[in-house]
């Protein structure tokens, strides 16, 4: 009985155990790994990723998928950066743009994300295009739109730089100073995690999302307007990508049309490693957070102990497949 309990505990909490083992393993190899600075770096690097991953999680849980996430991040990064350059920067995207309150471009970027999410939602729920195809299409198209915007006079596809300090502060500033400072970006990410957690667990929207992914027909005959909720969920995801795009520009102090490339795959990987089912109906916020952290720890930790980037890729790939194989055991009916 005891061994069964332990087995059960391990299966249910595998993701957190893997995370702990990774951290301990790296720390044993190089004790310098444990420290406030490492922690802060890992959290900062995880911040935009977790926001994107949560957006993708919304959609995966409904039984869909979203390949356009990364390109939306790129588009919204460019849009926000283009409106938040310092006035004396020689190559401004909009040479005559007055000083806007920080919130305006940020909101514009988030709304642009939301609108493209809305389009995804309409294509998927109204026109019944499988999400994989629908978002494959918008992924390609959004990159085109972003490149067009990025290529307008006078910018002509030059990387956007010279961002305002109040903007870059969102990405690299912190409360307090020195060793115990707390980065804004981490604070924002934690707030987003909390809000999404409430949405998943405490709101009608969240319950309906799980129901739609678990059994769409059941949701329909229970009187849920599935179309409406799908559109809503894709829009929320889009808004999250918008926010992530803003933070990505702020964090790196610039933007190009190639920003966000392939981020959707990292996000999907983090979700599935965190226990979100790609067939829908299953997934938790803490799981997604742990999934994101695992990948950041691998990136950061393995670089820290000197493992080459190619080896890191191999390890990441193996972890994705192993995590899902392990997860299938949890749900597979035993014969």
């Amino acid at each position: 009985m005891e061994t069964k309990k332990i087995q059960n505990f391990v299966t249910q909490n595998a993701i957190y155990i893997v995370l702990a083992v990774l951290v301990i393993g790296i720390a044993v190899y190089d004790p310098n790994f444990i420290g406030i600075n490492t922690l802060r770096d890992i959290l900062i690097q995880s911040s935009t990723r977790v926001i994107i991953a949560l957006g993708v999680a919304f959609i995966l849980i409904t039984g869909g998928t979203d390949l356009s996430a990364g390109r939306m991040v790129g588009l919204t990064a460019v849009i926000s950066a283009s409106m938040l350059q310092v006035e004396d920067y020689p190559r401004r995207f909009f040479p005559d743009l007055p000083h806007l309150p920080l919130l305006v471009p940020v909101l514009i970027a988030i709304i642009v994300g939301l609108l493209f999410g809305l389009i995804n939602g309409i294509i998927v729920s109204k026109f019944k295009v499988p999400p994989f195809i629908a978002t494959l299409g918008t992924m390609v198209a959004i990159y085109g739109i972003n490149s067009l915007y990025f290529d307008t006079e006078p910018n002509q596809s030059q990387p956007i730089g010279g961002l305002r300090e109040d903007f870059t502060n969102l990405g690299s500033g912190s409360i307090g100073s020195g060793q115990y400072s707390f980065p804004f970006i981490v604070l924002i990410a934690i707030a987003v995690c909390f809000i999404v957690w409430v949405m998943f667990n405490k709101t009608r929207l969240g319950k309906n999302m799980y129901a739609i992914g678990g059994n769409e027909q059941a949701a329909k005959v229970s009187g849920i307007n599935v179309t409406k909720y799908l559109i809503l969920i894709y829009s929320i995801a889009g808004a999250l990508y918008g926010l992530a795009g803003v933070l990505e520009a702020a964090r790196t102090g610039g933007a190009t049309n190639n920003y966000g490339n392939m981020y959707e795959l990292d996000a999907i990987a983090a979700c599935v490693v965190g226990g979100v089912s790609t067939t829908g109906g299953i997934g938790t916020v803490p799981g997604v957070m742990a999934g994101v952290l695992i990948f950041t720890v691998i990136n950061y930790g393995l670089t820290f102990v000197g493992v080459g980037p190619y080896w890191q890729q191999i390890i990441k790939g193996a972890i994705i497949v192993a995590a899902v194989a392990f997860d299938m055991r949890k749900y597979a009916s035993k014969k």
Partner: protein, 503 residues
């Protein structure tokens, strides 16, 4: 305009699908506080009519009145709002969510203000407990639905329908996966609902149930209403003859098969799963039809699936022609001359988007592969089409997609699939489930013919008349154990029930 004494009146409802007139001016009048049985063969239009009532389909013509008021029903939530709820034939649980969320799906109790409303879990829990107490259901509201048995899920669906406080409840085959004890429980709930003035539309193929609980019976055939009668005036034969449109003198064909020597011997077979079958021993003769009876959960399907190599065996042995065989996979089973017609035709039988002949040939591809690895397409088509034709399958063409065939004809294609492999032993798991009365007779004839040709047949059936009418011997299982084998002349409904309920 219309009579107020009816809880529901559907007037002259018509619905056409491309090429089919699914409903042709059907009128249905249901009195409050009664159980109204809706009967007809599969494809007669019962489910279509109910889907029109529930807003899943939009009728092309006709009107719906609820308590004398004309009703506009465009989707499921309209129907639920107007006090019409439905227990669907295919169960609709959300597996990874708990019981209470499944019940209150679409109308969670909320707390808070404006757009910031949160789901009130405590209230939902209390409401579920109250509902279950009222219905005498013993399930914890926070159990994951995926962990419950089919019959428990069925009772949750029933509770859900009741929880809408609807005045009209449609039950589409509600007892299909219930044990007899649970059926009694359902009938108590139905009686209780009747007393509260609720009108129940009850769809079932089980005559005994219909005659027991219904007040009125409406019979449909080919999208038309044949008539409505008080249940007290009806008998099983009368209902069947009206459903089929001809007098049914004989429900089962005459059998001329003569069982001879033992072909398969199963000795002390025990599953590797703890709660599955244990210590099963029996013999099967050449040319014999061996029926397996029992309740849901008796592990009959698990047993035949184990014989076919789909499930692991812990101990025990299987011998065919006196030689012990090891069957680890369906491939092994095929090589030893076994064939399995699975219980769930739709999910584990047909390949819906493949043609009839591809469906028939699929289990036999090995034989059509020529030495240079390409398929002998002509031979494949010829043999498949021959076999499909031999079983008198009605299909517009061998190229028709199998999903466009009726259940009975799909089943014939699946039988053809296995006959092409030239098996000696056929394992048939509920071979006539979901097949209408006319087509059932044809399936029975095929089974009887096969036995006469010397094939040995193991047939699981939950329909008592079928089990008794078709089997040379009846083997009864209960909770994974074999509780008795009855020779044809000793087998009676009472005896089978007694063994099936034995603990």
């Amino acid at each position: 305009m219309t009579d107020r004494k009816y809880a529901l009146e559907m007037k002259e409802i018509s619905k056409e699908f491309p090429g089919v007139k699914a409903l042709d001016g059907v009128t249905l009048q249901v009195r409050p506080g009664t159980v109204h049985a809706l009967m007809g063969e599969n494809g007669a239009g019962k489910s279509t009519l109910m889907k029109c009532l529930f807003g899943i389909y939009k009728p092309d013509g006709g009107e719906i009145f609820l308590h004398g008021q004309k009703a506009e029903i465009n989707n499921s939530s309209d129907a639920l709002g107007l006090g019409v709820s439905m227990i669907h034939q295919e169960l609709h649980p959300v597996p990874f969510r708990n019981v209470m969320e499944n019940i209150w799906l679409g109308r969670f109790p909320l707390m808070g203000w404006g757009p910031f409303k949160l789901v009130d879990h405590k209230k939902m829990y209390r409401n579920t407990e109250e509902l279950f107490k009222q219905l005498d259901i013993d399930i914890s509201p926070d159990t994951l639905v995926g962990k419950l048995s089919v019959s428990k899920i069925q009772s949750i669906e029933i509770a859900k329908a009741v929880s809408f406080r609807s005045q009209i409840i449609v039950m589409d085959e509600p007892t299909s996966s219930l044990t007899s004890v649970e059926v009694e429980h359902l009938f108590r709930i139905i009686n209780d609902l009747k007393k509260r003035g609720v009108a129940i539309i009850y769809i079932s193929h089980k005559m005994e149930e219909i005659l027991r609980i219904s007040d009125d019976v409406t019979i449909m055939r080919d999208g038309k209403k044949i008539g409505t009668w008080p249940a007290a005036e009806m008998t099983t034969d009368l209902i069947i003859s009206k459903m089929v449109g001809r007098d049914l003198t004989q429900r089962f064909p005459d059998r001329h098969n003569v069982p001879t020597g033992v072909i398969m011997k199963v000795d002390n077979l025990t599953s590797s799963q703890q709660k599955s079958f244990k210590n099963i021993s029996f013999e099967l003769r050449k040319g014999e039809i061996l029926g397996i009876g029992g309740l849901v959960g008796a592990q009959r399907t698990e047993l035949v699936e184990a014989l076919f190599g789909l499930r692991d065996i812990q101990t025990g042995s299987i011998s065919i022609h006196g030689k012990e065989v090891r069957i680890k996979s369906p491939g092994d089973a095929k090589r030893h001359g076994l064939a399995l017609l699975t219980e769930e035709r739709r999910t584990t039988g047909i390949f819906p988007v493949l043609s009839v002949h591809e469906n028939a040939a699929i289990a036999n591809m090995d034989r059509y592969v020529r030495p240079y690895l390409l398929i002998d397409d002509r031979r494949k088509k010829e043999e498949a089409n021959n076999m499909v034709g031999k079983l008198r399958t009605k299909t517009p063409s061998p190229k028709t997609l199998i999903m466009n065939l009726s259940g009975g004809n799909q089943q014939k294609v699946l039988l053809a699939r296995w006959l092409l492999t030239e098996p000696e032993i056929l394992l048939l798991d509920e071979p006539t489930r979901g097949i209408d009365v006319g087509a059932k007779y044809e399936i029975y004839s095929i089974i009887a013919d096969l036995a006469q040709q010397g094939k040995s047949i193991i047939m699981i059936s939950s329909e008592m008349p079928e089990l008794l009418g078709m089997s040379d011997r009846v083997m009864v299982m209960s909770e994974g154990r074999l509780t008795g084998i009855l020779e044809g002349d000793q087998a009676s409904e009472e005896e089978v029930m007694r063994l099936a309920a034995q603990h």
